[in-house]
């Protein structure tokens, strides 16, 4: 009994880990294909059918390049920078619920690394740590441009974390739970949070763009001003890790957006599919297949948001740094506070009124 649960959990964690890496790997290919489509060109099409082997070729190239450390760099911190970036990027997926439960041998196991009652706080903490990889790497390079990139990344992340946390509070007020699994199961049956929190969603989306250092907020690696930003001195697989961590962050933040606002593994007509499957295949197999369909839907939503990131990247120009700070502090934070007040008022007054009208 204990052992079955343990094995299913281990398999879940391993599969999630591998899927995160594979999705991040193929996001680099997808990014170039989307860029090609938007700019009316082909994108990578030489390595394999449709350029599908391009990520492998890139990884091979990265591994075989010279692993160079500048003479005056702080050696250990120079190595610690990209490692920390990868570590923090991979940590966050531990609490995301990827599906409902798997039934095996009479045991029900949740498709989630850790079911914690502080899930969303954990994610927030890991996001807050994400900036250390960039800061340490930028400082250890002993290069003014790298340092400026690192400083920009730090101030940008701290500024946008405030608005991000405030937009999350509105969600927490509605669901009255910090557990991600609980938040998802409350959105069952088309009750997605996006319908109640459109403003909060827009604030959260903007802040997650800023936290991932993606265009239009990619000031830390702004090549017109800072050469290469915080990874100017990096080459070989250490640079690869930085770029890879960015794609993992994209996937994780897309997964969190779909968990918080788009119902996670819930989809319209879920109960009907569940009843059909359990009626025809039995309560164990049918249940498991229904869960896997939900997981597939979840990954579909996450992939859509990855596409959205790329779409924005190849559509919008970059902000200027003062515009970025003004947007963060003077627009998004007041908007998030207004959103909290509106949500509080609706939960207190509007919700009882509507329920009394309906009954």
């Amino acid at each position: 009994m204990e052992l079955t649960e343990f094995i299913i959990k281990t398999i879940t964690i391993l599969v999630v880990f591998v899927l995160t890496l594979v999705i991040a790997m193929y996001s680099t290919w997808g990014e170039r294909k989307v860029a090609g489509f938007i700019q009316d060109r082909m994108g990578p099409n030489r390595a394999g059918p449709g350029g599908l082997l391009q990520p492998l070729a890139d990884a091979g190239k990265m591994f075989f390049k010279e692993d160079f450390i500048p003479a005056l760099a702080s050696k250990w911190l120079f190595i610690a920078g990209p490692s920390l970036a990868m570590l923090t990027a991979l940590l966050a997926s531990a609490v995301i619920p990827f599906g409902s439960t798997i039934r095996y041998d009479g045991v029900e196991v949740v498709l989630q690394g850790v079911e914690s009652n502080i899930g969303i706080l954990y994610v927030f903490g890991v996001v807050a740590l994400g900036v250390y990889g960039i800061m340490i790497g930028g400082w250890a390079s002993n290069n003014k441009f790298s340092l400026l990139g690192a400083i920009r990344a730090a101030s940008q992340n701290i500024s946008y974390e405030v608005a991000m946390g405030l937009s999350l509070i509105a969600i927490l007020m509605m669901s009255s739970s910090l557990s991600l699994g609980e938040i998802v199961s409350q959105q069952h049956g088309g009750n997605w949070n996006i319908f109640y929190q459109p403003l909060g969603f827009i604030i959260f989306l903007t802040c997650s763009f800023a936290e991932c250092n993606r265009v239009p907020f990619d000031l830390p690696e702004c090549e017109t001003e800072l050469v290469g930003g915080y990874h100017t001195e990096y080459g070989s697989m250490k640079l690869g890790f930085y770029l890879f961590a960015e794609y993992i962050n994209m996937f994780v933040s897309s997964a969190i957006i779909s968990t918080l606002y788009f119902g996670g593994y819930n989809y319209p007509g879920m109960d009907w599919v569940y009843n059909q499957l359990t009626a025809s295949l039995g309560s164990t197999t049918g249940h498991n297949i229904a869960t896997l369909i939900g997981t597939g839907v979840f990954f579909g939503k996450a992939l859509f948001f990855i596409f959205f990131y790329m779409w924005v990247r190849w559509t919008l120009p970059r902000f200027r740094y003062d515009q970025l700070m003004n947007l963060g502090w003077k627009k998004l934070i007041p908007l998030a506070i207004i959103n909290i007040i509106i949500t509080g008022a609706s939960v207190l007054f509007l919700k009882p009124f509507i329920t009394s009208l309906l009954n």
């Binding site: 702080s74 911190l77 914690s116 009652n117 502080i118 706080l121 954990y122 927030f124 903490g125 996001v127 807050a128 740590l129 900036v131 250390y132 800061m135 340490i136 400082w139 340092l147 690192a150 400083i151 730090a154 101030s155 992340n157 701290i158 974390e161 910090l178």
Partner: protein
């Protein structure tokens, strides 16, 4: 030895080691990084005490925000080539006396402390969870909680006032 106890010893060893490294390392950046490690190990202790909310908030507030600003300032100041002659022997003696006195006071206080024995039968393991903490904060300790928030608001307004540009001041 049961796993919790051995984990506790391991964490305590790491905490003391990283706290020592904060004051022993020559480079201020290394000191800050060791301080961050200390916060992590302290969060580990909170989790061992079943206080998950405190652990998460410790990471978010201290490691995630305050230490980033610390690192930020130290990187800008570039304290690496601080003048060695500023630390003459008088400063060292004064520092040693102050540090030693604090140590003696803390040690004496620690020896006199009577730790209330925990009753394993009536102990509520959920006391550190966020639900019970929230109920306690918003019912019994509502006034201190609100007063603390007003204090923070005043501090924030003060910081904004200090940082505000005066009329006629140059844009640099």
């Amino acid at each position: 030895m049961n796993p919790t106890l051995s984990f506790f010893y391991f964490l305590s060893f790491l905490t003391v080691l990283s706290a020592l490294m904060v004051i022993l390392s020559k480079n201020p950046i290394h000191s800050v990084l060791y301080l961050i490690l200390t916060f992590f190990t302290l969060s580990g202790h909170y989790i061992l005490l079943n206080a998950q909310f405190l652990a998460a908030v410790n990471i978010i507030v201290y490691a995630g925000a305050i230490m980033v600003l610390f690192l930020f300032v130290i990187m800008f100041l570039n304290v690496k080539d601080v003048h060695e002659e500023a630390k003459n022997s008088l400063t060292k003696i004064a520092a040693a006396i102050v540090g030693g006195t604090v140590f003696v006071i803390l040690f004496g206080a620690y020896r006199k402390t009577i730790i209330a024995p925990a009753d394993p039968n009536n102990f509520d393991s959920q006391v550190g969870m966020i639900e019970s903490l929230g109920k306690l904060l918003f019912r019994e300790y509502l006034l201190p909680f609100e007063l603390a928030s007003i204090l923070l608001l005043v501090a924030m307004v003060g910081a904004v006032m200090l940082g505000k540009r005066e009329i006629g001041e140059r844009h640099f």
